[in-house]
Symmetry: C2
Subunit: 144 residues, 2 copies
C-alpha cells in the first residue's frame, strides 16, 4: 500500500516552510494547481488565490519568510483516493515580531498523479488578526 499523497505533500510543505528546502515540494505540485487561502489579504499578502505551480511556490516562499511552524495537530481528517480534508491546529512563530501564533484551519485538497492539483484553506481569521495585532478588537454583542 502506497503512502497517501497528503502525507508526502504535508512533509514537503513543512520542510519548505521551516527549512526553506523546496526540492521535495516542487515535484509534488501540479503545473496547473489551483490554490486559495481565504482571509484578509490587506493584512496578510500571502493569503488569497494563486494559479499554477510557479505562483504557488512563490507564495509558499512568502509564508516561509513570515512564519515558522512549531507543531501542528490534526483534529479531524478524511482521506479519499485522490483527495483529503483536515481540520488542524498550528502553533507558529511570526518571524518579524517573534510572537507566538496559534491558528486553526481547515483544508480541502485534491491530488492528480500524486501531485497537488487543488487546495482551499479556511482560517479562523478573526482569532488570527487579533493575535497578529497583539490586542483584542472590541466587538459589540450582535445576536440576541
Amino acid at each position: 500500500m502506497t503512502e497517501h499523497s497528503l502525507w508526502r505533500f504535508s512533509r514537503a510543505l513543512h520542510r519548505a516552510i521551516n527549512d526553506r528546502q523546496y526540492e521535495d515540494l516542487q515535484g509534488l505540485i501540479d503545473e496547473d494547481v489551483d490554490w486559495a487561502v481565504y482571509g484578509p489579504i490587506d493584512m496578510f499578502p500571502f493569503f488569497g488565490a494563486r494559479h499554477g505551480k510557479a505562483a504557488v511556490l512563490e507564495v509558499i516562499r512568502q509564508v516561509a519568510e513570515n512564519v515558522r511552524v512549531h507543531r501542528f495537530d490534526r483534529e479531524s481528517i478524511m482521506l479519499g483516493v485522490d483527495s483529503a480534508s483536515s481540520m488542524m491546529r498550528y502553533s507558529l512563530t511570526a518571524l518579524d515580531s517573534n510572537k507566538p501564533i496559534s491558528l486553526r484551519l481547515a483544508q480541502f485538497a485534491q491530488f492528480r498523479a500524486g501531485r497537488l492539483s487543488s487546495i482551499r484553506i479556511l482560517v479562523d481569521t478573526f482569532d488570527l488578526v487579533e493575535q497578529a495585532l497583539g490586542r483584542p478588537i472590541h466587538l459589540p454583542r450582535i445576536a440576541s
Copy 2:
C-alpha cells in the same frame, strides 16, 4: 443504497433554522453529541462548544432566531461511511438588521447510527465580523 446521514441532517438543520420545525432534527442528533463552532462568542453567543442533545437543540434555536438561510453551495465535500466534511458558502440574512451576510465555513461531522455524534465548524470569522459590524476594520500590513 441508503442516503448518507449528512443529507438527512442537512435538510433537517435548514428546516429547523428557516421554518423553526425541529421534529426531524430531534431524531438525528445523538444524546451525547459534541458540537463546536469556532469564533468570537462575545459577539455571537451561539458560537462556541456545546455538549449533549438538549444544548445543541437550544443553540440551533438561537441560530434560527438570528439568521435565515437563503442559499448554500457546497464547494468541497468528502463522505465517509459515518463521517462527512465540507466547505460551504452560505447566503444569510441577519434577522435583527435585515442585512445580507455571506459566509464561508468548513465542517467535519461524525455520525453514529445515523445520528450526529460530533461536529466542528470553522468560519471565516474576520469576514463575518466585518459584515456584522457593517464596516471594515482597519488592518495594518503585517507580513513582508
